[in-house]
C-alpha cells in the first residue's frame, strides 16, 4: 500500500495505556497485566491494519508489557534473609503512568481555564495581528477514542478477508470528498454515520483514514461530549 497516515500530535503509548485502564475500569495500582497487554496489542494491531505510522515507542511499550507479563508468570524467588524483597515487575510502569497522568490532568485543567479570546476578552485594539496558522492543530478527540469507535463500527460488518482488501481501489480521496459534501449539507454528523454508505471493511477503513486526513488538514474538527460518548464531526469552515 502506498499511503501512510502520520500521527504527530496525537498521544503516545502511555496515553493508550491510560485510555485502556479507564475504558475497562481497571485499578491503576494493580493492573491485570495479561488483560492490558492483550488490549494494548489489539489496539496497535488495529492501527497497523490502518497503516497508521506507529511510532517506535508503541512497539517498545508492547515489548515492555510482554516482558512484565512473563516476569509475573515466574514463581517468586525465595527471598533470602537480608536481601531486599523483589519488586513488583509492574512498579516502574505504574510509576511512569502516574507521573504522566499528573501532567495529563494538569493539561486538561489548563485547557479549562478562562482563556483570553475564548472566555473573556480585553479591549479591542484596531491594529491586531491575525495569524492564519494560528490554531494548534490537534483535534479535541484523541486518536484512541476514534479507534474505539471504529472498532465498534467494524464489529457490525461481516468480516471480510481484511488483508486482501485492495486499498488503492477504494480511494481515500473519494471518501474525503464524500465527507466534505455531506458536511456542507448537514453542518455536523456523527462518527457512526460516517460509514453509512460503506459496506465492506475496506471501505470503512478508507472512510476512517479520510477522516484522519481531514483532521490533519484542519478542515474538520471532532468533538466528544463525554467520555466514551458520541463523537461528532463538524466542518471548520462553517464558523467563518
Amino acid at each position: 500500500m502506498d499511503y501512510e497516515v502520520k500521527l504527530d500530535g496525537f498521544e503516545g503509548p502511555l496515553d493508550l495505556l491510560l485510555h485502556l485502564i479507564k475504558k475497562h475500569e481497571l485499578d491503576i495500582m494493580n493492573i491485570p497485566i495479561a488483560l492490558i497487554t492483550r488490549q494494548y496489542v489489539d489496539s496497535i494491531e488495529l492501527m497497523k491494519t490502518m497503516n497508521l505510522d506507529i511510532a517506535g515507542e508503541f512497539l517498545l511499550m508492547a515489548a515492555t508489557l510482554m516482558h512484565i507479563k512473563s516476569k509475573m508468570l515466574l514463581p517468586p524467588e525465595e527471598v533470602e534473609e537480608g536481601e531486599e524483597e523483589e519488586l513488583d515487575p509492574r512498579e516502574e510502569l505504574v510509576r511512569r503512568l502516574l507521573e504522566y497522568k499528573k501532567y495529563k490532568d494538569a493539561g486538561s485543567q489548563l485547557g479549562e481555564r478562562d482563556i483570553l479570546d475564548r472566555d473573556l476578552f480585553s479591549k479591542g485594539f484596531s491594529e491586531e495581528y491575525d495569524d492564519e496558522n494560528d490554531d494548534l492543530v490537534y483535534p479535541e478527540v484523541g486518536l484512541f477514542d476514534l479507534l474505539d469507535a471504529l472498532q465498534e463500527v467494524l464489529k457490525s460488518v461481516t468480516p471480510s478477508i481484511a488483508h486482501a482488501v485492495n486499498m488503492e481501489r477504494i480511494s481515500i480521496k473519494e471518501k474525503t470528498e464524500i465527507i466534505l459534501n455531506r458536511l456542507k449539507e448537514e453542518r455536523n454528523m456523527t462518527f457512526q454515520s460516517l460509514f453509512d454508505n460503506d459496506s465492506t471493511r475496506g471501505e470503512i477503513v478508507a472512510s476512517f483514514l479520510a477522516l484522519l486526513e481531514l483532521i490533519k488538514m484542519r478542515t474538520v474538527n471532532v468533538f466528544q461530549g463525554e467520555n466514551f460518548g458520541v463523537i461528532r464531526i463538524t466542518s471548520k469552515d462553517l464558523l467563518h
Binding site: D8, G9, F10, E11, G12, P13, L14, D15, D27, I28, M29, A55, E57, M61, R96, L98, E99, Y100, K101, K102, Y103, K104, D105, A106, G107, S108, Q109, L110, G111, R113, D114, I115, L116, D117, R118, D119, L120, F121, S122, K123, F125, D130, N133, D134, D135, L136, V137, Y138, P139, E140, G142, N221, K236, L239, H240
Partner: protein, 195 residues
C-alpha cells in the same frame, strides 16, 4: 491630587495600555506627570476600589490581575455573545498541546528530551507549534553534553491563560485512590458533611 482624580488616572492608564500594566509603571507615569511621590501601598487600595466598582452588577468587564499587571477583561458570562462579535474562531488547544504546555509550565526549565521521557512519545512538533504561538520560549541551553535547548513559558502564556504568575498554577494533583474519590462522590451526593 484629589483621590477621585487619581483613581480616574489609574483607570485611564490601564484602559489605554495594550498589555497588562504593572503597578510600578503606573507609579512611574503618575509621578512623571503630576510630580507626585506615590507608594505602592497607596496605589493598591485604589486598585482594589476600582476592581470593586467594576465587579458590581451591570458592568460588562472587570479589572483583572494578569501576567504581573492589571488589565480590564470582559466577564466570562458574556463569552458566547462576544465570540459572535469577534466572528473569529476562538483559540483551540488540543489535548497533546495542553499536555506539553503543562509539562513545560510546571517543570521549566526543561529540555525536549525530558518532555518526551515524561510523555513517552516524540513531542517535537508540539513544542514547535507552542513556540510559534509564543506560549513557550527558548530559555537557553543546558550545560550538559550536547547542550540541549531548554524551554520555559512566556508572558503571553500567562496572559492567555489568565494567570497572575506561575505560582498561581494549581498544585499538581497526586494520584488519589479510586475508593477515596468514590467516597467523596457518595458523600456529596448524599450531601453528607466531610468526615
Amino acid at each position: 491630587m484629589e483621590k477621585n482624580a487619581l483613581k480616574g488616572a489609574i483607570e485611564a492608564l490601564i484602559f489605554t495600555s495594550e498589555s497588562p500594566l504593572k503597578t510600578e509603571k503606573i507609579i512611574e507615569l503618575i509621578t512623571d506627570e503630576y510630580g507626585l511621590e506615590l507608594e505602592k501601598n497607596e496605589i493598591n487600595p485604589l486598585l482594589d476600589e476600582i476592581a470593586g466598582d467594576f465587579n458590581a452588577e451591570g458592568r460588562g468587564f472587570s479589572l483583572t490581575e494578569v501576567a504581573g499587571g492589571y488589565q480590564f477583561r470582559t466577564k466570562t458570562t458574556y463569552a458566547s455573545l462576544l465570540q459572535k462579535l469577534k466572528a473569529k474562531r476562538p483559540p483551540k488547544f488540543g489535548r497533546a498541546a495542553m499536555e506539553v504546555l503543562a509539562i513545560i509550565a510546571y517543570r521549566q526549565p526543561i529540555t525536549r528530551a525530558e518532555v518526551e521521557d515524561l510523555r513517552g512519545v516524540d513531542s517535537g512538533g508540539v513544542v514547535r507549534s507552542l513556540l510559534e504561538k509564543r506560549l513557550v520560549r527558548i530559555l537557553g541551553r543546558k550545560e550538559v553534553p550536547g547542550k540541549p535547548i531548554i524551554y520555559g513559558t512566556t508572558k503571553t502564556f500567562l496572559e492567555i491563560f489568565n494567570l497572575r504568575n506561575l505560582s498561581q498554577l494549581p498544585t499538581l494533583k497526586e494520584f488519589v485512590e479510586l475508593e477515596e474519590v468514590e467516597v467523596e462522590r457518595v458523600q456529596s451526593e448524599l450531601n453528607l458533611p466531610e468526615s
